[in-house]
């Protein structure tokens, strides 16, 4: 009897454990079958283990792509984020009035044409007719007005919409966008996903529409989102430019950068956004893969707090500018795949001067300046940074370089969010390593908020630069429409920044992608705009 009881208890225990595991397993399987069922046979084949790139192309009907990156979008609401990963997903789902093509040209997208008023203060758009949202609704002028005003009102999109006053409906096919001041970069800003057109009815119906039912006019329709794993999309059959050749798009998050590369090499994924720089050579050498890179619309820099601490002393800042060796930094941080940036300007901008002369690397001079500044024996200061190859590695190299002139940097690693709030918002730092990235290729976006004194104390001018001359030049620059005159203005801006060493521009890197060699139509993009709509599998 006792024995029986024991046996029963054991059986019960086993059953419970199996039950637990079974539930889990069951749940996962349903997910799996759903995905496979909807995405068709080809997708199922791809997720299998035997789908090395060279065997994959035998199924000519291949129409799925697994897009992988190490981040995860925070939201699919294009107006409520400034995160480039989130926007990367938004480019698949939404359209803007304007689209930036691969060559950088700006073409009408959801409009057929646009015109600027005489005083450069209004832009009138003629809307494209017959554009459908994913839910079948037709896009109306009201949707456009609603979307742009929603974006203008959002706190997340300030960089893109700061020049916009409001949007107004003229008639059913025309809308007008009022500007606060003549703004050369306006059309460029409208091509950013922050200015995406959303469906007014859908947005107003549900506060969480972007989670439950994100609807756009773009080439891909939202299917599912498993947080921490992947986003799934399917091609939108009524897309106004025609249905995409890639029918199923999966955007998968693989946080570990090494695992990301291994997954690509193993054929587990088809496309990798920003593979680590050390993988470059072997990705190029791999016959199953194609690697592509282009210049980044961004420059990296040493930022000083110009209002507080050791670096308010101009001599100290200047000393630092002589102590950095850009070439070594590029070798160390980017394996040599970058170029030195000498002026405080994003290199992809039209006004970037490749001949601009910065202070040359000269340790002796730097030491003299340190002595003149009153620190012959140097000092110790903490430098907040983020871990990883992009920020951590160059910071550690700078630690070595500035150590030579007696500035002892104590590295303080922070999470990205913490770093942003400490450095960018609260300006609670003395020196750090940072970047000026732009998503619209215009010098105004690279300079205005970075140097204008209106933006100190945590609203963009993170170096806390207060310089009236700069303010005047920056205001002139954003209203000037003539390119040559603008270039001259921005050149002066760069000279002032250099002469005062407000910040020290260092280098620019590359935007890198790698993908299955059979996937066509893919190219690296300086501002991370990847339109999967353009991709297709080779026969």
């Amino acid at each position: 009897m006792k024995k029986l009881k024991r046996v029963l208890a054991l059986c019960l225990a086993l059953a419970m454990v199996c039950g637990l595991a079974g539930c889990g397993g069951g749940g996962g399987e349903t997910e799996g079958t759903q995905a496979a069922g909807e995405s068709g046979g080809a997708a199922a084949g791809e997720t299998g283990t035997d789908s090395a790139p060279n065997t994959g192309d035998q199924t000519s009907a291949r129409d799925s792509v697994i897009y992988a990156w190490s981040n995860e979008p925070s939201t699919l609401d294009p107006h409520m984020t400034s995160d480039s990963t989130a926007l990367g997903a938004c480019y698949q789902m939404y359209d803007m009035l304007i689209r930036e093509e691969k060559d950088g040209s700006l073409v009408p997208a959801l409009c057929t044409e646009y015109s600027l008023s005489e005083d450069q203060m209004d832009i009138t758009f003629t809307l494209r007719e017959g554009v459908k949202f994913h839910n079948g609704d037709e896009m109306t002028a009201d949707d456009v007005v609603f979307s742009l005003n929603r974006s203008i009102g959002s706190t997340y999109t300030t960089k893109m919409t700061s020049a916009f006053e409001s949007c107004e409906k003229v008639d059913d096919t025309h809308v007008v966008l009022h500007l606060k001041f003549p703004y050369a970069a306006a059309i460029g800003c409208l091509s950013n996903a922050n200015c995406a057109i959303v469906n007014q009815e859908v947005v107003e119906a549900d506060e969480n529409w972007a989670l439950n039912n994100p609807v756009g006019t773009g080439p891909y329709k939202f299917k599912s989102w498993t947080t921490g794993v992947e986003l799934q999309f399917e091609a939108f059959s009524d897309y106004f430019r025609g249905e995409a050749p890639i029918k199923n798009l999966t955007m998968r998050t693989i946080t570990d950068t090494s695992a990301l590369i291994i997954a690509l090499e193993n054929g587990e994924v088809d496309f990798v956004d920003t593979p680590i720089v050390s993988a470059r050579q072997s990705l190029m050498d791999n016959p199953n893969l194609r690697y592509d890179e282009c210049e980044q619309a961004c420059y990296y820099l040493i930022a000083f707090n110009n209002q507080e601490g050791y670096f308010t002393n101009e001599k100290v800042r200047e000393a630092v500018s002589y102590a950095v060796d850009r070439e070594t930094l590029i070798v160390g941080a980017l394996d040599g795949n970058g170029s030195a940036v000498t002026s405080a300007m994003v290199p992809t901008c039209f006004c970037y001067d490749t001949e601009f002369e910065a202070h040359e690397y000269n340790v002796e001079k730097a030491k003299e300046l340190m002595a003149e500044a009153g620190y012959p024996d140097g000092f110790t200061v903490s430098i907040p940074t983020m871990s990883g190859g992009t920020y951590g590695t160059p910071t550690e190299i700078l630690q070595g370089m500035l150590g030579e002139i007696g500035i002892n940097l104590e590295i303080e690693y922070m999470e990205r969010g913490t770093w942003m709030s400490e450095v960018l918002t609260n300006n609670n730092y003395e020196i750090t390593f940072w970047a000026v990235p732009i998503t619209v290729n215009d010098p105004d976006l690279a300079c205005y908020t970075t140097f204008h004194s209106d933006y100190i104390n945590g609203s963009g001018n993170f170096c806390n630069v207060v310089d009236e001359e700069l303010d005047t030049l920056l205001e002139q620059g954003r209203g000037e429409m003539d390119e040559t005159a603008r270039a001259e203005i921005y050149n002066q801006v760069c000279e002032i920044v250099r002469d005062n060493s407000y910040l020290i521009p260092l280098y620019t890197g590359t935007r890198r992608i790698a993908h299955n060699v059979n996937l066509q139509g893919v190219n690296a993009d300086p501002v991370l705009k990847y339109y999967v709509w353009e991709w297709y599998w080779a026969e």
Binding site: D256, T257, S258, I261, I262, I276, S278, A279, Q281, S282, T328, V331, G332, S387, G388, G389, G392, T393, E396, I397, Q399, G400, E410, I411, E412, Y413, M414, E415
Partner: protein, 289 residues
Amino acid sequence: MDEVVIKKSNPWLTIWHRYRKNRLAMFGLILLIALILVALFAGVFLDYEQDVVHQDIIHKLQWPSAEHPFGTDKYGRDIMARVIWGARISLSVGFITVFLALFIGAIIGAVAGFYGGKVDNILMRIMDVFLAMPSTMLAIAVVSALGTDMINLLIALAIARIPQFARIVRSAILSVKGMDFVEAARSYGAKDKLIIFKHIIPNAIGPIIVQTTTNLANTILGVAGLSFIGLGIQPPTPEWGSMLSEAKEHMRYYPYLMISPGIAIILAVLAFNLIGDGLRDALDPRLKN
């Protein structure tokens, strides 16, 4: 009765005799002594500024060679020098953390065990709360809250280990508390403190030593793990876990970066595990042949 006689004749010597017979344990001890010697004398062979942290970017990521037996890292530093210096860091962090945890845990456990009743109940429920939290998670949360540096890492790791020591000390005390010699001391009118230190602690020392060694092993693993996910010791200090963390990015192409710090960790942890096992056997009178 037998036990008492042995104890009088110098218990430590007996334990040592028993320990010495265990070859694996002796190997662990030799390994540990070697590591400690390396850590102590690292400063004699190596100059910290020149050999350990000085960057030489041009010679970065070189495969092992006669000049750099373990290769160079992404800043062109000699990995061998860093692994050797790393012994200092890992061992000292390990020891400090465990002794900190032991000290605090022992006090809590002793108070709880000795006074019993409500005090015991409250203290042990607090310990339960800490025990019920996933320990790596707790350490990560504490480091993120306090900021990433060595002291905070020590605190974070120690906090997660305090409850274990408190429990052991408490149960050790409970098991000797009722014994005759404690009762006897008490009847003399001896002070509580005296009883704790003079009678109870020496009698609880066996399990504590074993627990300490095992904890040293898993603390070294813990330090490496936290440093690996970027929450440990700050650069340019060479710590094995953070060396691996740095190497991970390049492991696909320069796998040698992963080898030497990894083996260093394994050796250190193995040494403590072997010693812990040996001590457990040596201290356990029941296992006496």
